[in-house]
Amino acid sequence: MRRNANKLFSPIILGILSLFCFVFNSCDRQSSVEKADKEDILLVGNNSEIQSLDPHIASSVADFKVIHSLFEGLLRGDNERDDLYHPGVASRWEMSDDAREWTFYLNSNIKWSDGKNLTAYDFEYAYHRLLHPQFGGRYADMLYVIKGAEQYNKNNRPYFLLSDIPNVSFDWATLRDLDWDKIEKHLDDPYKIEGLSDKESDLIWATLRADRDQGYPDLWGSSSIGVKAVDAHTLKLTLNDPMPQLPLLILHCTWFPVPKHVIEDQGGMLSRAGKWSKPGSLVSNGPFVLKEHQFNNYLEVRKNPLYRLADEISLNGVRFLPIVNGFTETRMFFDNKLHITNNVPPEMIGYAKSKSPLEFCEDDYYVSIFYRINTQKAPLNDEKVRKALSLAIDRDSLVKDVVRGAGTASFGFTPCGAGYETPHQITFNPQLARQLLAEAGYPEGKGFPAIELLTTSREVQKTMAEAIQGMWKKHLNIHIDIRSCEWTAYKQAQNSMNYDLCSSSWSGDYFDPLTFLDLWTKISGNNNTGWSHPDYEALIARAKSTVKLEDRMKVLAEAESLMLSQMPVLPLYWSKRVYLKKPQVRHWNPLLLDNHLIEKVSLQEQSK
């Protein structure tokens, strides 16, 4: 019996001993950061799981960050300043005097990561694909500055068909207002189109019929489209308006090339479910290539040996971790699992700052936080009420107490930068607020109807709403209700203007105030306030056609000033990006657009 017991227990004892050895061994285990330091791999928190690495399908900030490391456009941004740019795939470029015609000369030895040559045709193919009416590119409007791009994307066939007729010049400005849907329906029983001669009318019918009989062929080849690959190394862009700031615009991912040969091989131009953007088949031209992707775990890119400046890249790779929860991310940073986090939640700012002041970073960000106002609904259709609401918000207190310093109280709507002087028009003046409210018919807040503030379910937004609710109660004696709902429902309510006040934010796509001010034009799909003003439209149009930078900025400031005087939005603060960064990470500089050139980043030697 005793021998049996020994037989039984000895393996158990051995097992326990080996487990102890294993655990002790594990105690010496290197942290993820130490391991990564040795291998020169940067570990970056990337907020959320990516949606797609196809630059034409991608739409989240997390997508764009990875795409920036994988692809390179005509030009490359700067690692220290948002308003600088350098040669990318294009080694030099020329602008016509009116800033409408741009010619990019491509570096002749640029290669895709599979060794094939990258040519101007890849760029043309990329813009064709994003704008193709049957592709459904979400960010297609980024390319609308190109001549004919918007018409092509909206499949406005008469525009191209009629402008391509040799020896006849139709004036699109007069034709635009014709009822094209009706004309389309009457192709087989034509009538005389009002305002045109018989000959012109007949020509239109014949052209449209021929188009239908040919099965509506793709119109990309039309001479009215401003993208042309002149040869393998020359790309010519013709724009609608003068645009000296085009180089800053084309730093955005939507302007990157895509590998024509791979996409055509894997489903074709219009396929959205093509496998070309997955590990194993993704071919790119940037400093890094895709190595591995595990959903909700990590995405790893490795140095691209065929990149034009491969010798200058210090990192061997980057691992992007999609950590949604800011608390988890902060814990992981302090447990040495990350070099750089995506953000520190407001509740953790005090802790993180005191625990590790040297690793705590607070960078300005090109983001404006504000409340949209539904200007179509009473009582908010009254300008005085809107102004009163704005004047009764103590923005300094919001920044200090609610977001714990992760922002700057805004005095206008557009964040400063890019040579733009934001007009100082927002102040805190409860007395004037009460006076305006009384003038609007609500003295001491009496008789003010119930209005609702819509927010998402994010904690910081709810706290912000409660703080502002308190300020309005205190200073204006009015009560607002807060309704918070999950993101898609919130967005749906905002888009359909089913709200009174709505918490909002906007981040600049490119480094120019127009990315903010374009929002409030009548045709902007993101206006959603019901506000528009003919003078504002005229000023924005004038700014778009102004070549001289200072003049342009002045016109834009004038437009913003007009918008703020009518207050369709309540600007609150300009957000800051608050994150944590290990000291060994070098050349990760504060950038307003947060488009870091990861290929310039290095991990300091002595830490290895």
């Binding site: 594990s26 990516i50 739409s59 459904g136 775990n297 949604v324 929860n325 814990r331 993101n526």
Partner: protein, 307 residues
């Protein structure tokens, strides 16, 4: 027995069909659509995207296509948010992770929960019973979003080989597994205690005691079979729930499992993904329940007699 199983399977298929139909309708009744980005889409692009995925067809056509694709091609459709990735791919990447975590946490739950339930029942109304049940009650009351960060900070930050979060090594399973395990152990302990008490009060136990059967033998040979019935009935669905992921634990520990997809697919209105996940979860519940039924049938002579 076989008849019962076939019967249960038939019911299972019906349940899955109804479940899937209800999900199909409900997800489409929610406000918004899958292509709701940060920026509002122009109508012509939204229309194009919807037609790419057949979402502009009538409800019945969409419904028929959905079943047709599943039944003829085994295709659960594409994810509408992660374009180019299929629902099957997402489930096949996330399920192994959740399965590993689920099995590990269930082992912990069973190892802690059942013995403590037995001990509590055996020492009924004594200090040992009170303390076990108090701890179990605390375990039931403390939500995962409290326990997970507490364990992460208390253990993960201080014990070098434990990881506060992430999924890059074998030891990453310990803390999330412990969190899920402790929460389920608390339920198991209470269920085991009440099941055991029912049995321990019965006549045959008194007879066995009178005959001088040792305590160990009394519990293991006589009481355990019947006493475990409530715990086993709980274990089936609990196991199915755990292996299909927990959103809170996954978010707190950055585990790439199925729970995150469940919540995100709903808030993102990823129609095909949520339908696929519900079907998968439903299937797991049906199978787990069937398995528990068979197990109960095997250990409980009364059930055998009844059939």
């Amino acid at each position: 027995m076989l008849k019962t199983i076939m019967n249960r399977l038939g019911q299972g298929v019906l349940v899955l069909f109804v479940l899937e139909t209800i999900t199909f309708v409900l997800i489409r009744l929610l406000p918004g659509h899958p292509f709701m980005g940060e920026k509002k889409l122009p109508d012509h692009i939204l229309h194009q995207l919807q037609s790419n995925y057949g979402l502009n067809e009538s409800f019945w056509v969409q419904y028929a296509h959905y079943w047709q694709n599943i039944l003829t091609k085994g295709d659960f459709g594409p994810s509408l948010i992660r374009e180019g990735v299929s629902v099957s791919e997402i489930i096949s990447q996330a399920f192994p992770v959740s399965l590993l975590l689920g099995v590990f946490s269930m082992i912990i739950a069973v190892m802690i929960g059942i013995p403590s339930g037995i001990v509590a029942a055996f020492y009924k109304n004594r200090w040992i019973d009170w303390s076990v049940m108090f701890i179990a009650l605390v375990g039931i009351c403390v939500p995962a979003f409290v326990l997970a960060p507490v364990l992460g900070i208390a253990l993960g930050m201080n014990i070098p080989f434990l990881s506060v979060a992430g999924w890059d090594d074998w030891y990453c399973v310990i803390l999330p597994g412990l969190t899920l395990g402790i929460l389920n152990a608390a339920y198991l302990a209470r269920l085991t205690r009440s099941g055991m008490l029912d049995v321990l009060n019965q006549d045959f136990i008194r007879t066995a005691k009178a005959k001088g059967v040792s305590s160990y033998r009394l519990i293991v040979r006589h009481a355990l079979r019947g006493g475990l019935t409530p715990a086993l009935s709980f274990l089936g669905p609990a196991f199915a729930a755990v292996i299909t992921g927990s959103f809170v634990v996954e978010t707190c520990f950055q585990v790439p499992g199925m729970g995150m997809h469940f919540v995100n697919a709903t808030t993102d209105r990823d129609y095909f993904l949520i339908q696929g996940l519900v079907l998968f979860y439903g299937l797991m519940i049906v199978v787990a329940n069937l398995f528990v039924d068979v197990l109960l049938y095997m250990i409980n002579p009364q059930l055998r007699k009844a059939s």
